[in-house]
Amino acid sequence: MSYQDDPNGYVGSFPKDFTYGPFEQNGDGDSSSLQDDHKPRILLRGLRRSGKSSIQKVVFHKMSPNETWFLESTNQMVKDDINNSSLVQFQIWDFPGQIDFLDPTFDSDTILGGCGALVFVIDAQDDYQDALDKLQLTVTKAYRVNSNIKSEVFIHKVDGLNDDYKMDSQGDIHHRATDDLAEAGLHHVHLSFHLTSIYDHSIFEAFSKVVQKLIPQWPTLENLLNILISNSGIEKAFLLDVVSRIYIATDSSPVDMQSYELGCDMMDVVMDISCIYGMVDETETNTFNNESSSLIKLNNGTVLYLREVNKFLALVCILREENFQKQGVIDYNFLCFRHAITQVFELRNKCQSSGTDRRRSGTPDAVPNGAADSTESTSDHSQPQLA
């Protein structure tokens, strides 16, 4: 059973009105449309030269970090659709640093209204006082327009700092930013801070966390992964977005940077090899399909196991070689897992098609959790197999 049998599938991945920019739609006011709700926006803000476009290019366009040296500074807003996956549908709006939210010509209601997360990038190698001032203005403004917006602060370019200074500036930025907000009367607005650099995987991890908060089904996915790994003897499992390699979900055990890097690298290997050798016929350009899987055994007794979940998601598992003896059980558990994820998506699609009003009122949170209960039972079938 796979999603491809499903006539109503989300496989098409592109919404029907893909050609419409949401911006024009918002122009006609009130009917801030359903499509925007499908695709929460992530706004990238920050002072000029703080690295917003670099982040976007590195994370979502696979640009090598060194090439970002040559990026021109952004002069107008760049909208980037990341709606390649049924779960990960959002837009990245990369603002030029000099745009002022307080400018009356800036249509903040439209832009901030449908916005899911505001990512504010601070250049840690620079003097960040101005950035903090701007952060305070931006968050205040954003909160006034849209109180559900999630504010994330990327303390960026930390690769050039030593550990002590990193800690100091993180603490300082945290302290001052929170104080600034408290002064502005926004005690309850919560800022999340991430230390990021495009030269390692920290930017991917930070973006993963931002994106995860925008996925209402995220806790469900995490629970599903928990069940999967505990029943299959897996140490760590990542649900990776195929294109960007950010992780949509992982199990609840602590994320170790090395394992995530391993997962990303494996994803790269699989994509590259399947691009070279995976072409079955000329018409099919996407070589990543539901037959895709990969197995890499490392010389320290660890096995990396990758399976395709759907067109845009892959599951990367890290497990010990001795736990990989019964691959059949793991494969069976994986099929249960994939089935469960399919159910989550179906439910979500039903919710979306059954009307926008209910979506807004927060019901989708409840429903997928119900789905999780049902998937738990499916996964539980696998337990006897292991024992």
Partner: protein, 792 residues
């Protein structure tokens, strides 16, 4: 494997956590497939009870964490991946001991812990960032604490204040909460740059140890404002941390990945573990001390449960090599070593194991730190005394350069006086070559440039060496020493140049080669340092305008002056002399200061250049003063400076340029701006490296290049403070708080309309006229702030 260690291997699967009862006589281990209670015997564990029984083994039986009540003998609590917190009662009759299931968390619960004095209170920390305090009597959630962070990884009640608990979360924050107040936390601070995985309160001190993915364990003093006391650097993400009971400074930790061993650290010695227990073959998942500092239990992913005794520990410090070597910025090498050899290693069978924590590089000073020294002393009373040896590097000792840098003057006097002073300084430090350059500068620029062109041409030398246009500049102590070799390497830079010789064919060339010091002749081209010039090919390229030719160069007799007359007769009048290119190989030895001894050797390496008839000519001759050649000094000086810079002596190059002041532009055609900037910045960097900030600032101030003098403005920022409340205001805006209040005159206390004058030091001010009057009579600020105000 040490036989006396108590081990127990559970077949069911690895345990994620373990907990001891109040008396430390029983231990419970909990994992996905295992949940058992063992009693701890002298030499082994005996299974008391298996709690994972029953028909319906659901996810509630798969635990992430387990806690044993510190008061109730029979009460246990576990946390499950599905968010359930299960309370168990060992005293229940029947097989199932499950007492109650709290399914309030929707996501994985990472940690449960009991209140230390209140038996009914249980707190849990969950993946969704919430902590819930359960009341076991009411069997319901008493309070919910929303941390507003990411996943909570650990919660621990404080042993010092009964109502306080600490919570650590994945975004690196530590929060302190009062269990009675759920609205907001008491304190919050960022402890680590990565997720924090565990924390532990010290039993006596108000200390909290936190363990993080950033591979550090940090010890915080939570007494008032959280203050970082100690940091321990490990080789892998730290998963758990536990203070060793009754030992103030010792803490045990285990890694999350990579490192299977349990380490006990002395927080004052953060780099090498005090003791290591490497029995586990897979990553350790939990540790617990057995109420006494000498035994603890640990579980691991290899399904084993160990009881470790401290007497069986491996001590990495014993087989660490107690030698430290460090190279300083000045090229010195420091070596610290124990005075007498260490005692032989204990014949510990574990001692040859791999020791994690040793290979990690740490930014430490090269010598033994006092703490490390103290620890070493404690361990080796016999071999405590260390030797701290300091070796000087092979290269030139930079101390004289630094000393010169301190004493050189670069402004405030005319060029020649500065040069004279600097020459003295250089000579005082035995830097004769440098001193010589300064002398030249003094000579060249010591008097106003000659107004009238010389009446006669400098004599073109005859083809033979006897016809040297030799100019003696100044006698030195070394002159006699060098006299016999003067023609072997005449004109070595910085050495007393005893004769200058211009071959006639070159002499002609100089008329057409204007300005540029182009390479001419094979000897010149081969000179790598641009100053190694053969006598034969010594080439003076002079600008035409400085060299008005009136007559064809007449044949001229060698005009040589005795050295003793040189100073009086020629004085400073031989501009090109000392800085002229010459033979010799000082360029190759790479060290300006050590040139004299090298010259002695190298002079013999060029015997071919000697002319026999000049070899014995001790006395030198110079034409009388009217005949002094008006060679243009600029290109030669430029060459000299380049030469010094090539030798690594950027100090001379930069300083001469600075001291030249108005003459500096003479050199510009020969030294491009990039090179000038390079010199200046290089010298500034050198000064800063040696902490000569004042001198460096002086250099920046004297610099003539905009890119250099703008350095002084680079790192200075101006912030605006509100004059009334002292609070920093936003740029171009009034202070938020004081905005409604107008500025008052400090003298008359009236609102100022019109001109407002204020002191920029203390920002008090008032009516211009009042302030002026006040300042005529008083020194201090009229507002009474005690500032010595200056207006205007």
């Amino acid at each position: 494997m040490i036989p006396s260690n108590t081990i127990c291997v559970s077949e069911e699967g690895p345990a994620n956590a373990l907990a001891l009862n109040k008396d430390a006589t029983q231990v419970v281990i909990a994992g996905r497939n295992v949940f058992k209670v063992f009693s701890i015997e002298e030499n082994d564990f005996t299974e008391v009870c298996n709690l994972r029984v029953g028909k319906n083994l659901n996810l509630n039986f798969s635990s992430i964490d387990v806690a044993w009540s510190t008061i109730e003998e029979n009460t246990l609590a576990t946390a499950a991946t599905n968010g359930a917190v299960v309370v168990w009662n060992l005293g229940r009759s029947g097989r199932s001991k499950q007492e109650h299931v709290f399914s309030d968390h929707k996501r994985t619960v990472n940690k449960v812990s009991f209140h230390l004095t209140e038996p009914a209170l249980l707190i849990s920390g969950s993946q969704d960032g919430m902590m819930k305090c359960f009341d076991l009597r009411m069997k319901e959630v008493a309070r919910t604490f929303i941390s507003n962070t990411e996943s909570i990884r650990d919660v621990q009640f404080s042993p010092h204040q009964a109502h306080t608990f600490a919570a650590v979360s994945e975004n690196g924050n530590v929060q302190l909460w009062d269990v009675r107040r759920h609205e907001r936390c008491l304190q919050q601070f960022t402890a680590h740059s990565g997720p924090v995985f565990a924390c532990d309160w010290h039993s006596e001190m108000p200390w909290l140890a936190t363990a993080s993915r950033d591979k550090t364990i940090k010890v915080w003093d939570i007494h008032a404002k959280p203050n970082l006391e100690h940091t321990i650097y490990t080789i892998a993400s730290v998963g758990h941390v536990k203070w060793r009971p009754q030992k103030k400074y010792q803490v045990a930790s285990c890694a999350l990945v990579l490192d299977c061993a349990v380490h006990v650290w002395d927080v004052r010695r953060p780099h090498v573990p005090l003791a290591t227990f490497a029995e586990h073959r897979d990553v350790t998942t939990a540790i617990a001390w057995q109420n006494d500092p000498n035994t603890f239990l640990s579980t691991s992913r290899d399904c084993s449960l160990y009881r470790h005794r401290f007497s069986e520990a491996a001590h990495p410090v014993l087989w660490a090599n107690p030698h430290g070597v460090c190279v300083s910025a000045r090229g010195d090498v420091t070596h610290a070593a124990p005075d007498c050899p260490l005692p032989a290693l204990h014949t510990n069978p574990a001692s040859d194991r791999y020791v994690p924590g040793l290979g990690r590089k740490q930014p430490t000073a090269g010598s033994l730190r006092p703490q490390a020294q103290a620890a070493l002393e404690r361990l080796f009373p016999g071999g405590a005394a260390s030797i701290l040896t300091r070796y000087s590097g092979e290269g030139r000792p930079p101390c004289c350069v630094v000393a010169c840098a301190k004493e050189y003057k670069m402004r405030g006097l005319p060029t020649h006086e500065l040069a004279e002073h600097n020459a003295k300084v250089a000579r005082a430090y035995n830097r004769h070559m440098v001193g010589h350059v300064w002398e030249v500068v003094r000579c060249v620029y010591g008097r106003p440039p000659p107004r009238e062109p010389p009446e006669r041409e400098p004599p073109p030398p005859p083809p033979a060496h006897t016809n040297s246009n030799a100019v003696e500049e100044e006698p030195l102590e070394e002159v006699e020493q060098w006299a016999e070799t003067q023609f072997h390497n005449s004109g070595v830079l910085g050495m007393p140049t005893l004769s200058i010789y211009i071959p006639p064919h070159k002499y002609k060339i100089r008329h057409d080669a204007t300005g540029a010091c182009g390479p001419e002749g094979s000897g010149w081209v081969s000179a790598a340092s641009a100053h190694y010039v053969d006598v034969e090919t010594a080439d003076w390229t002079l600008p035409e305008e400085a060299f008005p030719l009136r007559a064809p160069p007449p044949a001229h007799q060698p005009s040589i002056l005795d050295t003793t007359h040189g100073r009086t007769a020629a004085g400073g009048a031989s501009p090109g002399g000392s800085s002229s290119p010459g033979s010799g190989s000082s360029g190759s030895n790479g060290s300006a200061c050590t040139a004299p001894p090298n010259l002695e050797q190298t002079s013999s390496a060029y015997p071919g250049a000697a002319t026999p008839e000049e070899g014995e000519s001790g006395p030198l001759w110079v034409v009388h003063e009217a005949l002094r050649p008006h060679v243009e000094p600029a290109p030669l000086l430029a060459l000299a400076l380049r030469h010094h810079a090539d030798l690594g002596d950027v100090q001379t190059a930069a300083l001469v340029m600075i001291v030249l002041h108005e003459h500096r532009s003479d050199l510009f055609p020969y030294i491009d701006e990039g090179l000038q900037e390079h010199w200046l910045l290089g010298y500034i960097e050198f000064l800063q490296k040696h902490k000569l900030w004042n001198v460096a600032t002086e250099v920046v101030r004297c610099a003539w290049l905009s890119s250099v003098w703008s350095l002084s403005q680079q790192s200075s920022s101006v912030t605006v403070c509100c004059g009334r409340c002292g609070r920093r205001a936003r740029p171009r805006a009034m202070c938020d708080r004081c905005l409604p209040h107008p500025d008052l005159c400090a003298v008359c206390r009236q609102v100022v309309r019109g001109l407002y004058a204020w002191c920029q030091g203390c920002s008090h001010g008032g009516h211009l006229e009042h302030m002026r009057q006040w300042m005529e009579k008083h020194q201090l600020c009229p507002a009474g702030c005690g500032h010595h105000c200056q207006l205007g």
